[in-house]
């Protein structure tokens, strides 16, 4: 075997990557591993394929058949509301994935090598949150796409045209807001408890009421104008981003390993 030493680094060159690059490295690795995990795949297939089909066949199709032309607006609003519900279910998977990112990996011993690396606290936390959000959002996007595709296949393109565009976009924008919130809360909880199960349970208790509030908000949003809709969504997304930034800035790796 012929080998050459790794060249010495020059003066002034940064020895380890910046926060954003490290965040992305950690997020990408976490996302890929979650996407490859068979349990996550199984649950997500149910949420992304089976449940949208169930909703189309058991809720939307009877509704469309029963309503006349005068009820088209109401039908469109109901179909749009289910865009949120269909997207929320797989996006809530970010809680389970994020719970595994700290408590789960700590149980398996795979977290320590990362904590012992030069990656900053901010990069580790933000990377873990994004690593949980990315697969959840991919599955949520798949679920909404499946839902719309099934409506098109079963009920035709005319039914799709009943969807109110602004409301549909606003409702779908709530899905990533929910995913980021779930992943951030679950990461905060997960880094402070000993087991994956505890992390998942406590995170669920903290986040599921928020999902309920989002659905309630969605019902209210049906009466709002487009401008109000987007302001409401923008406020939620901003609050999410603020929570993520504050959490990443204040989180310390010490919190994970100092639990005995």
């Amino acid at each position: 075997m012929t080998v050459e030493p790794i060249p010495a680094r020059g003066p002034g060159e940064v020895a380890w990557p910046g926060d954003l690059r490290t965040t992305w490295l950690i997020a990408r690795r976490g996302a890929i591993e979650s996407l490859r995990d068979h349990l996550t795949q199984g649950v997500s297939v149910v949420f992304s394929l089976a449940i949208p089909l169930f909703i189309v066949m058991m809720v939307v199709r009877p509704l469309v058949r029963q309503s006349g032309a005068e009820g088209a607006g109401a039908v469109g609003t109901v179909i749009a509301s289910y865009l949120l519900i269909v997207g929320l279910m797989p996006s809530s998977g970010s809680i389970g994935i994020a719970a595994g990112m700290f408590a789960g990996e700590k149980e398996q011993g795979s977290l320590l090598p990362l904590l012992a690396s030069p990656a900053s606290n901010r990069a580790i936390f933000a990377g873990k949150v994004l690593g949980a959000v990315i697969p959840a959002l991919l599955y949520a996007a798949l679920a909404d796409t499946t839902y719309l595709a099934e409506i098109w296949l079963v009920l035709g393109a005319r039914t799709l045209r009943l969807l109110p565009l602004a409301l549909s976009i606003a409702l779908m924008a709530l899905v990533p807001a929910n995913a980021v919130l779930g992943a951030t809360v679950a990461s905060l909880v997960s880094s402070r408890v000993r087991t994956y199960q505890t992390a998942q349970m406590l995170s669920g208790l903290a986040v599921f009421p928020v999902s309920g509030i989002l659905i309630g908000l969605a019902i209210q949003m049906q009466r709002w104008s487009s401008a109000y809709l987007f302001v409401a969504v923008a406020v939620l997304v901003a609050l999410d981003a603020l929570l993520l930034v504050i959490s990443a800035a204040t989180w310390r790796r010490e919190e994970v390993m100092a639990r005995r």
């Binding site: 075997m1 080998v3 050459e4 030493p5 790794i6 060249p7 010495a8 680094r9 020059g10 003066p11 002034g12 060159e13 940064v14 020895a15 380890w16 990557p17 490290t22 490295l25 950690i26 690795r29 890929i32 591993e33 490859r36 995990d37 398996q108 011993g109 795979s110 977290l111 320590l112 090598p113 990362l114 904590l115 012992a116 690396s117 030069p118 990656a119 900053s120 790796r253 010490e254 390993m257 100092a258 005995r260």
Partner: protein, 345 residues
């Protein structure tokens, strides 16, 4: 693992810079700690521990479970913060520049801790990226490590199906990907088969010879004695004994225990031993009722080369039929047992 001589060159620590944080040339990874204290609430996990591991040496941390070995490793790798004390690793202060310390250390634990859905090259590439290595350097280093650990044929396999030994090899490769100046090995041979453990021990010696400072936590006293330059025995977070293995053995008890076996019972042996200069009467185990006819006797002496020939000659002259004479010096296990059993002070 093969071809260690070549690999020594492969792993030899090169002059390096600390990544531009200070511009200072780093040559070695000496570990120095003074008065380390770590509390978890009211529990004192590490209590006033001081240690020094010069370049190219291995310090073995011994102690029962919960003695503080792993906590010391986590403190010195910048994973846990100090409650009190100071430490420098590879020239960087653990308090003021923990990121620089982490950039220059490698850590292996008893649990490989891999992301098992990944392939080995992808996993090593991830850590190489986190450590800031350039793409071509990562690729070259990964090839070297795969060859060294004989993992080339598993290049495309996900690690989920690997044996414990293979996973531990990957963990070692991960710890070496960035050519760390200091290594922390927390029970690295735990759970490995004898050949796998031997390979890891050979690697540890190789790394030592390439000027790295190494702290090795182990429960295997034989491993500690064979690999380390110094051992520190921990008890309830404190260092109960520290020194070179040979010095520790000699300091605890310089006496050699000698056991003589007879072909037939020889009751006169006790009287002969008591009359021999160089053997204190207290060093001869007291006779138990009914044991005078036993076929062996034991004594301790500080000067076996002078005393044993006298004893053997006198026993033989008195008609003893000697079958065997065995000498045992104090083992590290004896030192360890004495250190961890000593009353708390």
């Amino acid at each position: 693992m093969t071809n260690l001589a070549i690999v020594i060159d492969c792993l030899r620590l090169k002059d390096r810079r600390d990544g531009g944080r200070s511009g200072r040339v780093m040559i070695a990874g000496m570990i120095e700690a003074e008065g380390l204290v770590r509390r978890f609430g009211n529990f004192v996990a590490v209590d006033d521990v001081s240690l020094r591991v010069p370049d190219g040496t291995i310090l073995a941390l011994l102690g029962p479970n919960g003695a503080g070995k792993t906590t010391i490793v986590r403190l010195l790798t910048g994973v846990l913060g100090l409650t009190a004390g100071r430490a420098t690793v590879a020239g960087h202060d653990i308090r003021s520049n923990p990121a620089a310390v982490r950039a220059h250390v490698g850590l292996v634990t008893d649990v490989p801790g891999l992301h098992e859905q990944m392939t080995v090259p992808a996993y090593l590439d991830f850590f190489g990226s986190v450590y800031g290595m350039a793409r071509d350097a990562r690729a070259r280093r990964i090839d070297e490590l795969l060859a060294f650990f004989e993992l080339e044929t598993h290049r495309k396999d996900r690690m989920v199906g690997f044996s414990k030994g293979m996973k531990q090899k990957v963990a070692l490769a991960r710890a070496l990907i960035h050519e760390p100046a200091a290594l922390f090995l927390d029970e690295p041979t735990s759970g490995l088969d004898p050949l796998g453990a031997r390979s890891v021990r050979e690697l540890i010696l190789t790394l030592k010879h390439s000027s790295r400072s190494i702290i090795l936590c182990t429960h295997d006293l034989d491993e500690a004695e064979r690999l380390s330059d110094e051992v520190a025995i921990l008890r309830r977070g404190k260092i109960a004994a520290v020194g070179e293995p040979g010095t520790l053995r000699a300091a605890g008890s310089p006496e050699t225990t000698v056991q003589i076996s007879f072909a037939t019972p020889f009751p006169a042996a006790r009287a002969i031993l008591q009359a021999t200069p160089g053997i204190e009467p207290s060093a001869i185990p007291a006779a138990q009722p009914g044991t005078e006819s036993l076929t062996s006797i034991e004594y301790q002496t500080r000067d076996p080369s002078d005393v044993n020939p006298q004893v053997i000659a006198q026993l033989a002259a008195a008609g003893a039929r000697i079958v065997s004479v065995t000498c045992a010096v104090r083992s590290l296990e004896d030192v360890y047992a004495a250190a961890v059993a000593a009353p708390a002070g």
